[in-house]
């Protein structure tokens, strides 16, 4: 039983997010960066670039390459993870790169690469969404021209109920997980994955809930960016 009297294992309502904390511009060396805590997740994202893409043969004369790398720290999970990329993180890196590229004006920076590093330091379900959300803030912090700030959130199905932002217990024992990334202004879908079992009706409901979650988080992203520049206000 993961849902009792309309309450979830951690006491949340079905459409409630875990607590989220976002801070922009936390790293000294990076061109843009973001630290994000989301429930038990702690994620750092850094942006380097646009910079010359090397080796040269990977350059695109018409646009910038967008290269996101999702990496989990070996100590971020219960059983120590062997350092380095595995098949899961290679896939997440790929879909994350593609999601981010869809909002970046890459044609402004031919022959360059924009590198985005996402380090998961502490993990508790929903790390890819946390990574994309942090990367969105880091890209904005780096001053990369974008159509919108990308943001991600998952919805899912637990005990037959559609819920927002799954915990690890709900992810493992629930019926379905649907991570979604969007451009919040236009509601374009930048990333969508799903595993589990949902009817079409349930999918509709879950997608709507995920988008609602994304929009709520988008406000926190903006607040984090504004906060960084508050320090520079005069008077």
């Amino acid at each position: 039983m993961l849902i009792k009297d309309g309450k979830r294992v951690d006491g949340r309502k079905p459409d409630e997010l875990r607590p989220i904390k976002i801070e922009a511009g936390v790293l000294y060396r990076a061109d843009g960066s973001c630290y994000l805590e989301w429930g038990g997740n702690k994620v750092l994202a850094a942006v380097y670039g646009p910079r010359e893409a090397l080796p040269r043969h990977i350059q695109d004369p018409t646009k910038a390459l967008v290269n996101a790398r999702y990496n989990m720290a070996s100590f971020s999970v219960e059983e120590r993870k062997r350092p380095g990329p595995d098949r899961r993180s290679i896939e997440i890196s790929k879909v994350t790169s593609e999601a981010l590229e869809s909002v970046i004006f890459t044609e402004l920076f031919p022959r360059t690469v924009i590198d985005i590093s996402i380090e998961v330091l502490d993990a508790e379900a929903g790390t890819r969404c946390a990574g994309i959300t942090a990367a969105g803030v880091a890209l904005a912090d780096a001053g990369i021209p974008m159509r919108d700030i990308p943001v991600a959130c998952a919805a899912g199905k637990v005990d037959g109920t559609i819920v927002l932002d799954l915990t690890s217990e709900e992810d493992q024992e629930g019926d379905a997980d649907l991570p979604v990334a969007i451009a919040p202004r236009t509601e374009e879908i930048l990333l969508l994955q799903m595993d589990g079992h949902m009817t079409y009706k349930e999918f509709e409901e879950a997608l709507e809930l995920a988008i609602k979650g994304c929009k709520e988080i988008a406000k926190l992203q903006r607040k984090a960016l504004l906060n960084k520049y508050k320090a520079f206000e005069v008077g």
Partner: protein
């Protein structure tokens, strides 16, 4: 991959640092024996058995400790095992690239490992579960988050700070209640670099980029030497080495106070 012979530093920057060095001045205005501010925060990663984030100036390193049950080495059947690894993720510097550990990262991890091992900081003899069969393996994983010089001391300090508050996860293996990892007194590492015949403690990135030689010493609580490493292509004179150790002994006392609080 081949390591570049000379780091790309502009001639104007090199000249600037050389001119400052002649006047015994450093690029960030510190004195030759002045360490940058140190900040230690412990227990910040919930999934790790122990963790610490250490800042030395703008340099930031995160240490995470994981414990697993495994087999002992045949030559020490009644002792636990410790292993240290360092990751230099591309997040921390525009120069870092993804991929397997570079020789730089391996040297760094091994120097940190030796300091901890030789100072008998972790009581490995107390980490035996079944002699010859089962012991605790202590994984010390160092994640560099922001690189502005002196990773040797930052990694050593982060590892020590994390290990001081590490828990043995007995509950996860159904072996009773969790308990504290048995540790003694931590090693304290001090690193110097030399450029233009100027030897400075706690180098910042600019200084490391033009350094001709590097020296790291790990000291125990009595100020005795437990591990040393000279690195890079240049050399030190005998007097410089002796002097470095004496300078380290003074600085290590201050760092130890932060660590043992």
């Amino acid at each position: 991959m081949e390591i570049p012979e000379v780091k790309r530093v502009s001639a104007i920057k090199r000249d600037h640092l050389a001119r400052l060095a002649k006047e015994r001045k450093r690029p960030d205005g510190r004195k030759p024996d002045e360490y940058r501010p140190i900040k230690i925060e412990r227990n910040i990663i919930k999934k790790a058995e122990g963790s610490a984030r250490v800042r030395i100036g703008n340099t930031m390193v995160l240490a995470g400790i994981k414990l697993e049950v495994g087999e002992p080495y045949p030559d020490s059947p009644e002792e636990g095992v410790m292993t240290t690894s360092v990751e230099l993720p591309p997040l921390a510097s525009p120069e870092f690239e993804p991929g397997p550990p570079t020789p730089d990262a391996i040297e760094l991890a091994r120097v940190v490992d030796r300091g901890i091992r030789e100072s008998e900081f972790i009581k490995l003899e107390k980490l035996c579960i079944e002699p010859g069969e089962k012991v605790w393996i202590v994984f010390i994983d160092l994640h560099v988050l922001d690189y502005d010089g002196n990773l040797f001391d930052a990694c050593s300090l982060a590892a020590s700070a994390a290990l001081q508050k590490t828990i043995i996860p007995n509950e996860r293996y159904e072996m009773g209640e969790n308990e504290k990892l048995p540790v003694g007194s931590p090693p304290v590492s001090c690193t110097f670099v030399k450029y233009e015949d100027f030897v400075v403690i706690d180098p910042c990135l600019e200084e490391e980029e033009i350094a001709q030689a590097r020296f790291t010493v790990a000291l125990d609580k009595n100020g005795d030497i437990r591990a040393m490493q000279k690195g890079l292509k240049g050399s030190f004179t005998i007097d410089e080495i002796k002097n470095n150790i004496k300078r380290a002994q003074i600085q290590a006392k201050k760092i130890r106070r932060l660590l043992e609080g």
